[in-house]
């Protein structure tokens, strides 16, 4: 209980620090929203008037507090290039990114566990070596290149989906999931390979332990020993990797969205960076940061639940 409180305290402090640093970073750069909006031909008076209007002339710290207050209340400011609240702009798009992340993550879990168990069982046999090499190969393929290959093979050659023809959830929910399946798989394959590698070596570590011999002497089948006894223990060190994977998937979706022309959060982020629309960039970055930090926090708690022996001071 004390542990949970302490962790939660750190969580809050971390979130505050992150928000402060991000706000600071986006406010010390030359050229603010007023300048970008009015362009180079504006007079000093015009710029000053708009700054006053947008509240850019207030002292830094009070601007931070009012921005933070707004942010917690769900007011992320106004996008100056679209002239609509950032919240409206991003809420629907986050749905797409989250859908892809979840689909990719499910794919990773579904495939990496059985493959890892199988290769650990066949350790150093031919099958294991072949799969391990393929694994290394798949780990080396950038997700977006895999996306291009998938577009080429399944989209253009076999024509089982239309590249670039994204269908929104409102139009047709089945088609929406079907279209997002391809980018999700493209993101998932390199991560699956990585997951197999880590879980496999973790399983091989377990092999040497005495409980495995004990389980075998009680007449348990190999399937049961590998799939239940060993897996349970081997998965613990892999949890951190899975949490990191989710963070990476969110980051990778920024790129993969471009490959499949999906109007998600990544496309918005990239165009906002190009337009220097900092309200949007700042909001997206902070939301992603919050997701990642909260997830790490949950994984820390999960560790304690799964294995109470873990010393949580470190």
């Amino acid at each position: 209980m004390k542990y949970i409180l302490k962790k939660t305290g750190f969580l809050v402090i971390t979130l505050l620090v992150i928000s402060f640093i991000t706000f600071l970073a986006f406010n010390i750069i030359p050229g603010d929203a007023a300048l970008s909006k009015l362009g180079t031909e504006a007079t000093v008076d015009q710029v000053n008037m708009l700054r006053e209007e947008l509240g850019l002339n207030a002292p830094f710290f009070s601007r931070y507090l009012s921005w933070l207050g707004g942010f917690i209340g769900g007011d992320f400011g106004i996008s100056f290039s679209y002239m609509i609240p950032v919240k409206e702009l991003i809420s629907g798009k986050f749905m797409i990114t989250i859908t892809m992340t979840i689909m990719a993550f499910v794919f990773i879990i579904l495939f990496s566990i059985p493959i890892a168990v199988f290769t650990a069982y066949k350790e150093n046999k031919i099958v294991d070596r072949v799969i391990t090499f393929l694994n290394q190969l798949f780990m080396s393929i950038p997700g977006f290149f895999l996306g291009i290959l998938i577009t080429f093979i399944f989209g253009l050659t076999f024509k089982i989906f239309m590249p670039g023809a994204y269908i929104s959830m409102q139009e047709n929910i089945g088609q929406y999931f079907y279209y997002l399946l391809f980018p999700s798989v493209a993101m998932a394959i390199p991560k699956t390979a990585m997951g197999v590698k880590i879980l496999r070596s973790s399983l091989i570590e377990e092999k040497k332990k005495r409980y495995v011999r004990a389980a075998r002497s009680r007449g348990n089948s190999n399937l049961r020993i590998y799939g239940v006894y060993m897996l349970k223990n081997a998965v613990i060190p892999v949890l951190t990797f899975w949490a990191m994977t989710i963070a990476d998937l969110i980051a990778n979706s920024v790129i993969i969205e471009r490959v499949f022309s999906i109007p998600g959060i990544g496309t918005l982020l990239v165009s906002s960076i190009a337009n220097r629309d900092f309200a949007v960039v700042q909001a997206i970055i902070i939301i992603i940061a919050v997701i990642i930090i909260v997830m790490n926090y949950l994984v820390d708690l999960l560790y304690k639940i799964i294995d109470p022996r873990i010393d949580l001071k470190n």
């Binding site: 971390t14 190969l137 950038p142 977006f144 920024v254 982020l269």
Partner: protein, 264 residues
């Protein structure tokens, strides 16, 4: 300390060597001028004359891949140098000295490290504006925490080792202990980390350039070649596939190498 026997992965070593050699030769000579347009060979398929084919302007893809690979190598190398240098200093200070400085720096470090490096680099790029130098700077900064964390744990490992204790007894200076006595011991780990960092930098650079906010023209980039040729994927798939394959082989070579460095 027992001797570590390095068993280098031959396939990985050869692959990396060939790729780096090709890029180095490419600095002095490429089969064609990478920017020369030739309407006659527009979209020509891979053949003896153009082994990787030609793009929408009739430029030779193989030559362009070599030039793009150079940028990739430059970005990856410089990024690792920046990350390793500052990570080493940070890790040495926190690991060797410890205490409250360590506690605070490492907390910040953990938060930054949990953030995907490409997103961090995107933030920097959005602040600084895209170009090759800024990509290197952004990725370099993004990689400092991962190096710092590893160096720190290595320093902690050796902090109380016998050879450090005896050096202290002989009144060897702290700085000297850090850099002359401990540093050589952590080199194998550093090399393996650098190889992984290099791969991540290559991936991140390719991804950012693919998005159009990384390396900017006139600098060539594999990532941008892929995004430009994606529109012609049905007519000339080789325009996107060869630059991609080049990246895959580059990363594969280096990761096999780093694997063998890691194994003791």
């Amino acid at each position: 300390m027992h001797k570590k026997k390095l068993k280098i992965n031959k396939f990985g070593a050869i692959l990396s060597f060939v790729i780096v050699l090709m890029i180095i030769i490419g600095i002095f000579a490429t089969p064609y001028d990478p920017n020369k347009m030739d309407a006659a060979s527009k979209f020509s398929a891979p053949s003896i004359n153009h082994i990787f084919g030609c793009d929408q302007f009739g430029r030779d893809i193989f030559s362009r891949v070599l030039v793009g690979g150079r940028t990739t190598l430059l970005v990856g190398g410089c990024t690792v140098l920046i990350g390793a240098f500052f990570g080493m200093i940070l890790g040495a200070i926190t690991g060797f000295i410890g205490g409250i400085v360590d506690e605070i720096l490492m907390r910040i470090n953990d938060v930054v490290a949990s953030f995907p490096s490409i997103l961090l680099a995107l933030v920097f790029i959005s602040l600084l504006g895209p170009n090759t130098g800024n990509v290197i700077l952004a990725l370099g900064i993004a990689f400092i925490p991962s190096f710092a964390r590893i160096v720190r744990s290595e320093f902690i490992k050796y902090k109380d080792a016998d050879f450090v204790k005896s050096a202290k007894l002989m009144k060897v200076g702290k700085i000297r202990i850090l850099f002359v006595h401990i540093m050589p011991n952590i080199m194998p780990t550093m090399l393996a980390t650098a190889a992984i960092g290099f791969n991540n930098a290559v991936l991140a650079e390719a991804g950012m350039s693919y998005l159009g906010i990384g390396v900017m023209p006139p600098d060539a980039s594999l990532g941008r070649m892929m995004s430009e040729s994606q529109a012609y994927l049905s007519v000339a798939p080789w325009c996107a596939i060869f630059p991609g394959l080049f990246i895959v082989l580059m990363i594969l070579g280096f990761s096999l190498l780093s694997e063998s460095l890691n194994r003791k």
